[in-house]
Symmetry: C2
Subunit: 397 residues, 2 copies
């Protein structure tokens, strides 16, 4: 693609993000890109664009020689993968916002980019409007990253902000409030159990440390068991609770997980409130860098997609430098994590799997311990399945 | 410059930042850059590098055909400008960290880059390790920016963190504490009167809105008059105080200034503590984006310089897109600002210059009003020179 040519777009999907892309493109001077065709499921639906733009036939985009960039914005990750891999094989550049597709197929998609020498950009797939992938690729290309962690899911952050700041002290009420305000899905499982942020964590690990990870192999613990007692514990110690996805490099291995964490009230991550996302990058030289912004929504996500389209116009592509530098080699589950474990009966938790225990507390209904355990032992522990047990990471910031 | 060639560097200055650049380069795999020569004032001083690297003769670098990139890291802004403009005219790319030089000569330096078609990069000049210029140039190239504001000076932020969080409630004690800990200069005027952040604001205005501004024309009010009374006022309303440089676009004009501001305690800017910097970018589509990181120091600044050197290796240059898009045309001093004005006597402040007054308070020693005034009227008001008067911006976040 050259600097002087207008980019011709074929878009799959015209839901919330697709319409955001249309609006952002429409109101932006300076970007030379035109929508040629949009592939949708139902061509009869009334839309903001003339019906001549729409088709239900993927081939009208994928086999259309006029179209040079495919913008993939559909929900179904497997259908999306078929579209994207077909497009790449045909030599069409692709922009996508599909985190599950990218995370589940990262290695295949990397190989396709190398084989067919065609760019695939997906800034919108991790924290929408926050330019984290671009910064990991470009700005931190020579710095020695040691840790990346953050709030990668807006729905759970909205619920947690409700629980920790507003008068809502009950998880189900906070969830309903988030659903009523449009910040949580009617089936919230993907979010509240931490599966959504896990996809994004997998993508960030690739661009920060150069490891392909299977997202389902990353340890995840959700927020649905957070109780009034846990909230009160946090309040007494001037902490808040956030769902944190974290990947920390030690030597050449990476410890990665997604878990609720206690955060000091004056910490950057505590200032990430409601539907916002925030990412903290630690490195040897720049030390701590923090990014925050809207992690979802029509315009923020649309804007990230348009920024990728614009980047294609000056031949930008991800170099996957960390992968080539072999920055890290594999995941590690031997590092010790400091955890708060709250439960209703001392017989529930097997204490022998903890390396150290620094605090023990008992009251009539609630007990907790604070102690160190390896991720491997935590994953193997049966008692974490008990709904009366809650786990919150208690890192030292 | 091509991707396969090693970059040959000539460095001016080997103080704190110069040594940081050396360390970062030294410990970084993957960057193809070698130091050829370093120009210093005193070649006799004992240094961490062999004396054969050093010279006191600028021509040994500037007229050396082996050197293709000049890295300018000296203090004196005028001497730096002479070095940089000479280098650009000779077709050598330049990386610099000199904010005063860039801000004072932005238009001439822009013209030199265009005339000689050679890149000048200066990410380290604004907030050191925070990649704000790169993001304004690249990621927000098509978004419609409406406001950029932030904490652009680490020394004053260290002092203000002391005043608002620690037991230090007296300005001079907080200043001495910052000096003792190496976070403020022995002559702190440039920082505490807001002159240093004003240079950075001028640079950010160019990359966010495409206007050349004379830094000395930007209204600035420092932090040295902040009193125990002001701190108590903030505490009672759950606010903190930060020195904020702000540029806000309305229609096609920009209102810009640097002033202490009240910030809600749970706001991103309140979480920027001690020597850190933070920048908030508001735009039509991505809405609010926040960046934080170390704004000074040997390694964070050195890392930003090395990131620019690395960017040169893939032919990166600033496009000054906002300038070409004529995003905004001029500064404006007609917008109303909501200010807290504290003083010791009602006769001191001329109330007639306020458009509205929303609060008035009197006690034995301290009085304040909160009201709206234009920047133009504030600038003209004689009473702001009175050391018994303090001004704090009271924006609605």
């Amino acid at each position: 693609m050259t600097n002087n040519k207008r980019i011709k777009l074929g878009i799959f999907g015209f839901g919330c993000v697709g319409q955001g892309v249309y609006h952002v493109l429409n109101q932006t001077k300076g970007i030379k890109a035109d929508i040629v065709k949009i592939c949708v499921k139902d061509s009869k639906k009334e839309r903001i664009l003339d019906s001549s733009f729409f088709t239900t036939e993927p081939a009208d985009l994928l086999d259309n020689p006029e179209i040079d960039v495919i913008v993939e914005l559909i929900d179904d990750a497997e259908a999306a993968f078929n579209i994207v891999s077909y497009a790449l094989k045909k030599g069409k550049a692709v922009v996508t916002a599909n985190k599950k597709m990218i995370a589940d197929h990262s290695e295949e998609l990397y190989t396709l980019q190398q084989t067919y020498q065609v760019p695939l950009l997906y800034e919108a797939a991790a924290c929408a409007s926050i330019p984290i992938i671009r910064n990991l690729e470009e700005y931190y290309d020579n710095d020695l990253l040691t840790c990346i962690e953050g709030i990668l899911n807006g729905s759970t952050n909205y619920i947690l902000t409700g629980l920790t700041e507003r008068t809502t002290t009950d998880f189900n009420t906070a969830l309903r409030e988030a659903q009523l305000n449009g910040f949580a899905e009617s089936d919230p499982t993907l979010d509240i159990e931490g599966f959504d942020p896990r996809y994004k964590l997998s993508i960030l690990i690739l661009h920060a440390f150069g490891i392909f990870t299977n997202p389902s192999s990353l340890f995840t613990f959700g927020i649905s068991r957070i109780s009034t007692f846990d909230l009160e514990f946090a309040r007494q110690r001037n902490l808040t609770i956030r769902l944190i996805a974290r990947a920390k490099k030690e030597n050449s291995t990476v410890t990665a997980f997604c878990m609720p964490s206690f955060i000091p009230s004056n910490h950057h991550l505590a200032a990430v409130r409601n539907e916002y996302n925030g990412v903290l990058v630690e490195s040897l030289f720049t030390e701590i860098q923090f990014f925050a912004g809207k992690g979802a929504g029509s315009n923020p996500t649309g804007s990230a997609v348009v920024s990728d389209i614009s980047a294609l116009s000056y031949d930008y592509r991800y170099e996957y430098k960390k992968l080539k530098q072999k920055s890290a080699t594999q995941l590690n589950e031997q590092s010790l994590l400091n955890l708060y474990i709250r439960f209703d009966d001392w017989s529930v938790v097997d204490m022998s799997v903890f390396e150290t225990i620094s605090e023990r507390f008992s009251s009539k209904k609630n007990h907790y311990i604070i102690g160190e355990i390896t991720l491997q032992n935590l994953r193997k522990a049966d008692w974490i399945k008990n709904p009366a047990v809650n786990i919150i990471h208690f890192p030292k910031y």
